[in-house]
Structures are given as C-alpha cells and as structure tokens.
Symmetry: C2
Subunit: 429 residues, 2 copies
C-alpha cells in the first residue's frame, strides 16, 4: 500500500474512533494486553531476528540493549496498558459551558486531534506505549519505528491491530510505516494527518519541521540548566546538581550547564567538582570557574553533552543567570537552588522554559514522574502542549452549540440579546 | 530598524511582560483607552490620508468603508478595551496541582506564549483589538496591517506604545511592521517569534504556512455547511439556513453549502428556494435538487462563495451528509437542523469541525457571540486552539516544581516513592 492509502484509511477510522465509548476503548486496551501475553513467543522470535541482524551490523551495545524485547519488557508494557485503562476518560469532557441566550447553550468539549504520525527510536516498548495512548485518546495513528526494530514492530503492530479491531475499534486506526521514504511521503499528507510527533535527534526533528506543513510537536534539544544561587544550601546544591547531571546522562532532561552565583562559587565549586569528579564527569568551565577549580575551558554554552561532561559558568547575579538561560537554553527544564523565595519566584517567572524547578533535580521532568500516566514525548513548543505530554496533549476540543432555531439576524437587530452566563452543566443531548 | 531587531526587542520585552501584574496590565489598558480618546484628532487626520490615497488608488467602496476610522469607531475600540479590562486575568492561573511526594509539589500554571506575529486586513480597529488582547495576555507582538491603513496604523501604534510604556509595560512589546518584505523576514525568525496569526485570504495563509517554521494559527477557508435532516422542522430549517447564508455573506462562518435529506427535500426545497431567492441568492444545485427546483447546476462542492450564492445537494442519509462534510468542509462550522436528538448527537460527534451546531445558524461561530470578549481570529487548526480564539488561545502553561532537595536517584533506587496526589492548591512561593 502507498503511504497515502494508509493515511486515508487512518483518517476514515479516526472519525468513528473519536466517538467510541470509554467502555469499548478500555475493553480493546484490555484485549491488547492479553494478546501481547498470548503472543509472547512470536514477539520474542521477531525481536530475536532484529537482535541478530543488528548485532551483525555492529549496533552499539547500549542500542542493542534498548532493542531487546523479552518477557520482562512485555510484562512492563502490559502493566503500562493496565494503568492506562484506569486513567480518566480524556474525551467528551465538558471544558466549559455558557448560556448564550435562553435555549442557546455553548459547550467546549474535549475530542481527539484525529490522525497522529509518530516517529520513534528503536525501542519496541515505544510502539506499544504510543499506540495505546492514541487509542485511549481516540486518535488514529501512523507509526514509524527505528529500522533496527522492524520485525518486532511488525509483530507488535499485528497483535495490537488484530486484538483491537476484533472488539470494535475501527479498522485502519493503526498503521505501520517501514521506510524513510514512507516518512517523506507522510510529511506531505497534511490533508489526512493532523499532528506529527518526531522523537529522535535534534537534526532529525529539524528536518521534519523544515519539510512539512503539518503541525509538529517535539523537542529539538535538551540543554537544561541548574543555577546555584548565592542563597543556596551548599550541600543541597551539590546533591541536586550532581543528580541532575549524572543520574542518567544520555537523556534530554539531564543538566548540561551549571550556573553558579559568584558569591557562592568559592565555597560550592570545589565541593561540586569533587562530587562530579567522583562520578567521572569532565568539567568545562568559564574563566572564573578555572580560577577556582582545575578544569577544561568551556568553548560553547550550547553544548548538549548527553555524556559525563558538563559546562560550568560563574555568573554575577540572578538576572545574569536568567539571561544566560533565556539565551542558550532549549526551553526544556531549568532549576534554581536557593533558600531565597523571592529569587525562586523571579527565576520561575522569568525563565522561558517548559519546566522551571526550585530545589530539585531537572531529571524530574518526565511524564511518569509527573503522574501523567505515560508520555508520548516532551514538547519544547510554545503552543498546545509543553513539557511532558501525556493523554491530555493528544486531545483538542470542539465547540458544540445547541439551539432551537436561533438566527443571528435577531441579535444584530436587537430583537434578541446575549446573556453570556457561565453554566455548571456537562454537555448532553 | 531591521525586522530582526524589532523581533529581538519584542522577545526581550516578552520576558518581563510575562511577569507583569494584573494591576499594571489593566492600568496600561485604561491608559491606552484614554490616550486613544485624547489623540482622536491625530488618528482621524492620519486615517484621512489613508482614505484619500486609497480613493485615488480606486479602492472598492466596501473596503474604503472598512478602512474608515472615525470618532464612532474610536469609541467602539475604547469600549472594547474597557470590557477587556474586566475579563479575568488569563496568566498565572493554576491549571492543575499534584503532590509528587511529601514536599515535592508540581503546578501547571498558565503563562503567555511569548512573541506573536499578527498579520491583518486593512481595518484599523483590528490593530487596537489585537494589541490589547496581546497585552492582557502578556504577549509581545509584531503587527503587520494592510498597506491601505499605513498612516492610521502608525498613529495608533504610536499612541498605544507611548501610553503603555509610560506606565511600566516593557519597552519594545509592540512593534509595527510595514512592508511585505518585513513579513517575509519575520517568517524566518523562529528563534524570536513563537506564533504567527495570519488573517486574510486563503492563498495568503497558505503562503505563510509554506514559508515558515513558526507555528501558524489560522484558518485557510470557511466552507461551512447546514444540513437539513429528514426530521427537521421545515419552518425552522428555512429560517436558520437563510440566516446562515444571507445574514452576512462575505464572512467565513456563512454557510456555503446546504445538504438536504432526500425525504424532506420535496417539501423543504421549494420553501428554501423562495426564501433564498427573496434575498437574491443564486442557487447551484445537484441533479436531484434541479429536479425539484429550478436552479443552476452545482459544479464543485468546494466553493467558498462569500457572496449571494449557495451550493445545494440532496443526500440519501445522515451518514452521507456527515461524509460529505468531512470530505469537503474546511473544518470551520457546520450545523444540523433536526428534531431527532440521536441524529444531532451523531452529527456533532462525527463531524470533524471546530464548531458543530444543532438547530441554530452557523453565523454564531464568533468570539464575541461566544462570550470570549473578543477574538484574535478563528482557528481551523487541530491543535492548541480551535474555532474562535480569545484570550485563552494566547496562553500556554509552564510546569513549576517546588522541592526541598529531592533527587531522582532516590526514586529510582526505591528509597523514596511518588504519591501522585491531586491537590487543591494554587501555586504560590
């Protein structure tokens, strides 16, 4: 099938899927969970092929580990689906209700976005998570996973498709794309696809944005900062900054640059350097940093290290820290460590990033940790959804207006007039 | 100044503007309202130049009328600003609050989008409305009005800039662009501009979308439908359909195509045709329509007439009407006329448009009529904001996380665990 045929089928399915009841969707999710367990051996066999081929192609060990999909991983994704079933229904919720006039009632009601194209890395659990989030939120989806996971993704998509369609989810709601060519074709299908969520490298996300008219939700970088204010508790600062940098270095919410207020730098920097060096972190400092501790020179404030490396800069003031962040940050996550509430307030108000933290690790910026259930990605967009994106980010709304024959001419002539009264009512027919 | 300098200045202003208090913003709006009255004669003199030049250039009479900005129009925009002052503060609202763990609290707090580029038609009141909506919602703005209104826009922007900056709104928050070249440059400035709202012709909006990486909120078409179901009240159907088509023909929420159920067509069509023809509406019907009434043949179902013309199609069923709409509509506004609640429910669930109406005119799809205060435009996007966009569509949110030294390592090791408890609390420091 051509990519356009897959997109047309998904669009068609999306219309009915938008009106599917909570019971039907949850039943389908439960059925998918069971089917994944029932088909464990097929899925593992498919994954084995991917692992063997990738090993032959000398895929790096950490990537091979991400690619591996065993019984334990299947149990994990099934547990994820089961907790998704328990989350509240995101669709059909009345977000506001207004009486425009007697007998003329306006409701803003949540609904699915429609058809969502998701491009994700070679981690088979991503396919299950994304497709189940889409189903729960009533969206049809075109999925393109990493090439390395081809066989596993085929097996998973087949199980999910058959299990869901067998209990009434409209045929065509889940479509698997397999080639880069498919992706390039998808980018042109703005008539059928409402949103693209690319997960992957910075350059890849930029490529998608540059080559499509479809709305793109994603993050292009994760240059996160931890700022240690002059009024920080030094012990807390060292502990939180170290966690922010080293708890998991290859992820987008790891701190890449630390900013230290000049008044506290002589005290905090040696302790921080010791803590970081114990964890084999290579420090790239500004000139002032180099005067206090021994380290390499910093050459750029735009480094997304994703490694045991960090940039450190000594700043003259809170304002300079905010200005540095608003200049060099990727608008993802930034933290301030301080005992001074006014400084924290200013930082959280003036830093223009999706997540702004006070006295805790940047690594908390994550859908699971936020209690969103699961995340489809992290957004550094400034519209629609920001930060970790869960079910709610996959919804939008419709305006539903119920009348009994009202016409606008009567309101223009003055025969009728608007009451515009907020009402506490859920939409119903 | 270069466009980039204007955008950099707006970006810089946007940071402080985001944290401006409600009192300051409302004071500035009140000051702007007063200043517009004080400078009435300057504004009218500037408008006079625009009117004279445009008359010499043979601008069409209805456009000259839209361009005219007299004392009455100034009073109208001032009244608009005064009602905007009374609207609730859209920024700093706690949208949700979750305790992640004892002493670790997550808040989702509304904030401005940042810098918004708005391109609008030659209607000077649009400049006042858009800039005051941006100010109330804490956004900096780059404004490009129609060429015909150049002198009026200069005068208005000067009054608004001086009045607002004199009472503490950060310098640079409002910037006026004057040429098409400025617009083309603006489209490249995704580093400084967060959202573009183009108002204007279909081809113009498409041009913007095709030539920028910046998010675009707008509508490309207004092909709205009114469907007369077999269970419609015929008198109501004729009245509402006539209003939908003729109350104001040149606007995007006017009905362009009417769909009539075959069972009711023989009864309703002659009455509808009579009502439309009394208002000089030219009917373009499908073959079945032509068998019942005398009319021109319909040649396309994608006509946005914006005129005293309408397309009419007889359909076999509610499902066919829904399918027609989901195929040919621009996803703006569609109405069903029926006494049958189940039919209405199905229509409102399955029609994939921003506004879905039951037994009332499509002309109600409007920010003022919806009680949103004012609108910055109408969106047929599927993300962020849909339908009439008021203050709320100019906001997004930040995640603010308050802790006391929490690190992620403790939650990964199992030493700490998440409570994820919804809390009924507003964010405060």
């Amino acid at each position: 099938m051509q990519t356009i045929d897959l997109a047309v089928a998904a669009k068609k399915a999306s219309i009915e899927l938008a009106a599917l009841s909570t019971e039907k969707k949850n039943e389908a999710l439960a059925r998918i969970a069971d089917a994944l367990i029932e088909h464990t051996s097929e899925i593992i066999a498919a994954n084995q092929k991917d692992l063997e081929r990738s090993a032959e192609e000398n895929l790096a060990a950490p990537l091979l580990k991400r690619l591996k999909f065993d019984e334990g991983k299947i149990k994990d994704v099934v547990a994820g689906i089961k907790s998704l079933i328990l989350l509240p229904e995101p669709i059909g919720e009345t977000l506001s209700a207004t009486e425009l006039d007697n007998g003329l009632e306006l409701y803003k009601v949540s609904c699915p976005i429609g058809v969502i194209g998701v491009i994700f890395e070679s981690r088979p659990d991503a396919l299950v998570q994304i497709s189940s989030l889409c189903l729960k939120s009533g969206n049809a989806t075109l999925l393109k996973g990493g090439r390395e996971a081809l066989e596993t993704n085929r097996a998973l998509a087949k199980v999910i498709r058959e299990a869901s369609e067998a209990c009434g989810v409209p045929t065509g709601w889940i479509q698997l794309l397999e080639t880069r060519e498919n992706v390039n074709e998808m980018l042109k299908l703005d008539k059928y696809i409402d949103l693209i969520i690319p997960r992957g490298s910075n350059s890849f996300v930029q490529y998608i944005m540059n080559n499509s008219n479809i709305a793109v939700m994603g993050h292009a970088d994760g240059i996160c900062h931890t700022y240690i204010d002059k009024d920080a508790d030094v012990e807390m600062a060292v502990k939180v900054a170290t966690d922010s940098k080293t708890q998991y270095v290859s992820v987008c919410n790891a701190t890449e640059t630390m900013l230290i207020h000049k008044d506290i730098a002589p005290d905090v920097l040696p302790k921080l350097a010791k803590s970081l060096e114990e964890r084999n972190v290579e420090i790239h400092g500004c000139e002032k940093t180099q005067q206090i501790i021994s380290c390499l020179p910093a050459e750029s404030w735009k480094m997304e290290w994703l490694d045991y490396k960090v940039s450190i800069r000594v700043v003259d003031s809170l304002e300079d820290a905010i200005e540095h962040i608003n200049t060099y940050s990727s608008r993802h996550t930034e933290a301030i460590i301080t005992k001074n509430a006014q400084a924290a307030e200013k930082f959280m108000n003036l830093v223009d990033s999706a997540d702004v933290f006070w006295n805790c690790s940047t690594r908390f910026a994550d859908g699971f940790r936020y209690g969103l259930g699961a995340e489809v990605g992290i957004s550094t967009n400034k519209i629609h959804a920001r930060g970790p994106v869960g079910l709610e980010g996959l919804t939008i709304y419709k305006w539903k207006l119920k009348g009994n024959g009202q016409i606008v001419a009567d309101y223009v002539s003055g025969k009728s007039s608007f009451t515009h009264k907020k009402i506490d009512k859920k939409f119903s027919i």
